[in-house]
């Protein structure tokens, strides 16, 4: 016993020691390179000058003033020189430093009587004379965090998230009466709509990361977000199936819960996008668009209801309400965050997480259908259901397009 533990310690000790050697050598090489300055690259040529472009992250309009949030996207320091509004130099105050290190931000506050609903451009010129401008289609007052706007964003999230899913869950009684092959078709439909959401979220995540400053973005960030959610849901589903003793296949309310989590992550991203676009005046959130989102998301309620119906067990009203909240309430959280705050990195991570989660649930649904449904994955009901799911999402998506 004792000698064994000594051997283990010795082995671990040696292992740790050896593992440090590459790190120490790396540090030595880095130091040597840093000490050499530009001599190495100088063998080839001089480095090109820094672009000195700012990243204008967010422009907010408040009564009598404009707030411009800028970030330095480059490794070299970047200093704010002059600020222009509609190509005129304006006085400004800084909430933050004038000289920005890598990825650091400041907010420029410009006292300005802007004209409501008219296009406007703001520009920030670096101390080296490089001007970065951004055009705003229409100046609209940015909502500030108040009880009223908090309630407003909450209601928007409720309308596009919770309510349509709750309505979709009302299909449960009719699903219970459906024949097994039709239930399999609806399960496949759930898989189809989740596959649609996964691909859509993945596309958004990739688009968002492409707009990030180079150092922050990268498809790898999307992979990170997707992997985290995929593996987390895999872990949860294994716990569910172990608890049920169902041999690795999740079903019934447990599967419905997984579906709800996947949909919830997607709705969080959707809430973020709606909230921030609306706050920054980039989106006219009319009744038609809200109705469009509702119709689009009703299908998500159907997706949650189907595994419950398949499972055959009775689900309490409280359980159903919980599922609706898990799947829909993230839209409210997203709308709040999007409406009041800014971070593109989180936007990428959440859309990527939504993609990973939806994909994982597609896999779970697929395994379930393969084992339990009459005819398995190759039945016409299943194939038709899957394609119908994708088609329905696409068609209802046109309502918000």
């Amino acid at each position: 016993m004792e000698s064994g533990s000594i051997a283990a310690t010795g082995f671990l000790g040696r292992f740790r020691l050896w593992s440090l050697i590459p790190l120490a050598l790396l540090a030595a090489v880095v130091l040597a390179f840093a000490a050499g300055g530009d001599s190495l690259t100088g063998l080839v040529r001089d480095n090109p000058p820094a672009a000195d472009q700012f990243d204008i992250r967010r422009v907010e309009f408040h009564p009598g003033k404009i707030e411009i949030r800028v970030t330095n996207p480059q490794p070299d320091d970047l200093t704010i020189g002059t600020v222009t509004v509609d190509d005129a130099i304006v006085s400004y105050e800084l909430d933050g430093p004038a000289t920005l290190g890598r990825l650091r931000s400041s907010t420029i506050v410009v006292p300005f009587e802007w004209v409501k609903d008219e296009p406007i451009s703001v520009g920030v010129t670096s101390s080296t004379g490089i001007q970065t401008t951004t055009d705003i289609t229409a100046a609209v007052e940015t909502p500030t965090a108040s009880a009223r706007s908090f309630l407003g964003y909450g209601l928007i999230g409720l309308m596009v998230g919770v309510i349509p899913i709750a309505l979709g869950l009302l299909w449960l009684p009719s699903l219970r009466r459906a024949a097994p092959q039709w239930l399999a078709a609806f399960m496949a439909l759930t898989g189809g709509l989740l596959a649609f959401l996964a691909l859509e979220a993945l596309g958004e995540a990739l688009d968002l990361q492409a707009a990030l400053p180079g150092a922050l973005g990268g498809p790898g960030l999307v992979l990170l977000g997707a992997s985290i959610s995929y593996l987390t849901l895999t872990f949860i589903s294994h716990r569910f199936s172990a608890a049920e003793g169902s041999g690795g296949v999740v079903s019934g309310v447990a599967l419905a819960t997984l579906v709800a989590i996947g949909i919830g992550l997607h709705n969080f991203g959707e809430g973020l996008a709606i909230g921030s676009s609306f706050a920054l005046g980039e989106l006219a959130l009319g009744a038609f668009l809200i109705v469009g989102f509702m119709v689009h998301n009703v299908t998500e309620g159907l997706g949650i209801a189907t595994p419950i119906a398949e499972g055959g067990r009775v689900a309490s009203l409280a359980r159903l309400a919980t599922l609706a909240i898990v799947a829909g309430a993230p839209a409210i959280l997203g709308a709040w965050l999007g409406g009041f705050l800014t971070s593109d990195v989180l936007g990428v991570v959440f859309f990527a997480a939504a993609a990973g989660a939806a994909l994982e649930v597609v896999v779970e649904v697929g395994r379930y259908v393969a084992r339990r449904a009459p005819g398995g994955l190759t039945s016409g009901y299943v194939m038709g259901g899957f394609l119908t799911g994708v088609t329905v999402m696409y068609a209802t998506g046109l309502l918000v397009g």
Binding site: K65, G81, L94, S126, T128, Q131, G338, L341, S343, V345
Partner: protein, 335 residues
């Protein structure tokens, strides 16, 4: 952009602005508090109200610190009486120099003697003008004077390489307000980089006494997109808004005005609350009584103002864009 934005496009459109956790915001605020000596107190609305454009005068006008070199450009050397054959010697050195063209913004200029515009060159008609030019810049340059002179003194064919020098010598004529600039190619580059200045030739009969000023209208394209980012007279944006020019009401104010703005075909001068006599090219007694003149690139003239009133009077380009990008200043008329 179509009104019917697709769901995808709308989401993608939200890309640059999506959203954060309170953590991110907290971190940013801490940075702001820790790092910034320039961070100012926000929410003082009365203070904000004073900062509008109309009040861009004195300390409210964003311009560079007071500069002796820039101040020197405003006041020409004294006119000398007519004396044919007298030698007027000047020395101009082309140097590359980073200059501050607006508050907090620098520009890698090419200059004569370290400023853009360069020094004022002045002679009386029939003086022998002798300008020793040395090129300490990184590119070939010349000096091309406007006026009447031999072809060999035109600054077009005698390109002066870096390290080289050249002596321009010719009789100063005709009288009037002229200018000089580099004529090496590419011309646009050599001029907008800062190689230009005022060249005054005084008439045989001296002009009547006045408070004399020189204003060379110019612009700076700091980001190389072929459009000026800043406009001004004699260099830095808003300089005379921050430091109004003090003039006596009892004395005529004479401005030697030239337009050396690159990229924009025309520039203009407009005076508030007063009219002035404008002598095109300053080469005759003909004048126009007006408050606004328009000058093409290279065009110039002499303005004479007899102020009727005391107080602050704005002057600026009547192209609002130029005015709001720095070409605006004030006379402070005093008794």
């Amino acid at each position: 952009m179509t009104k019917k934005l697709s769901r995808k496009h709308f989401l993608a459109g939200a890309a640059p602005i999506v959203v954060a956790a309170p953590i991110a915001r907290l971190g940013w605020q801490q940075n702001a508090e820790a790092a910034a000596p320039s961070a100012t107190h926000l929410g003082h609305d009365d203070h904000h109200a004073k900062m509008g454009h109309a009040a861009m005068v004195g300390e409210m006008a964003p311009s560079i610190d007071r500069s002796v070199a820039i101040d020197k450009l405003l006041v020409p050397p004294k006119a000398l009486p007519h004396q044919p054959g007298r030698v007027r010697a000047h020395e101009l050195v082309a140097v590359d120099k980073v200059i501050e063209v607006a508050k907090g913004v620098t520009f890698p200029a090419w200059t004569y003697n370290g400023t853009a515009p360069g020094p004022v060159i002045r002679a009386t008609e029939d003086d022998v003008l002798r300008v020793k030019f040395t090129n300490r810049g990184s590119h070939p340059h010349t000096i091309h004077f406007h006026g009447i002179h031999p072809s060999s003194m035109d600054g077009v064919f005698e390109i002066v390489e870096p390290g080289g020098s050249f002596a321009y010598e010719f009789n100063a004529r005709p009288y009037g307000m002229h200018l000089y600039h580099c004529h090496a190619t590419p011309l646009k580059k050599h001029i907008h980089k800062g190689l230009y200045g005022a060249f005054i030739v005084d008439p045989k009969q001296p002009r009547k006494p006045a408070q004399e000023l020189v204003m060379v209208m110019n612009g700076f394209d700091t980001d190389g997109d072929g459009e000026n980012n800043f406009y001004a007279v004699n260099g830095p944006a808003f300089y005379y808004a921050r430091y109004p020019i003090v003039v006596q009401r009892s004395q005529t104010v004479r401005i030697y005005l030239a337009n050396l703005t690159e990229f924009d075909p025309i520039n203009s001068f407009h005076l508030h609350g007063e009219f002035f006599r404008y002598y095109p090219t300053g080469s005759s007694d003909q004048f126009e009584y007006t408050d606004t003149v328009m000058l093409c690139q290279g065009q110039r003239g002499i303005i004479e103002i007899d102020f009727h009133n005391k107080g602050l009077f704005m002057f600026h380009a009547h192209q609002s864009e130029f005015a709001e990008l720095g070409w605006m200043g004030y006379f402070n008329v005093v008794d």
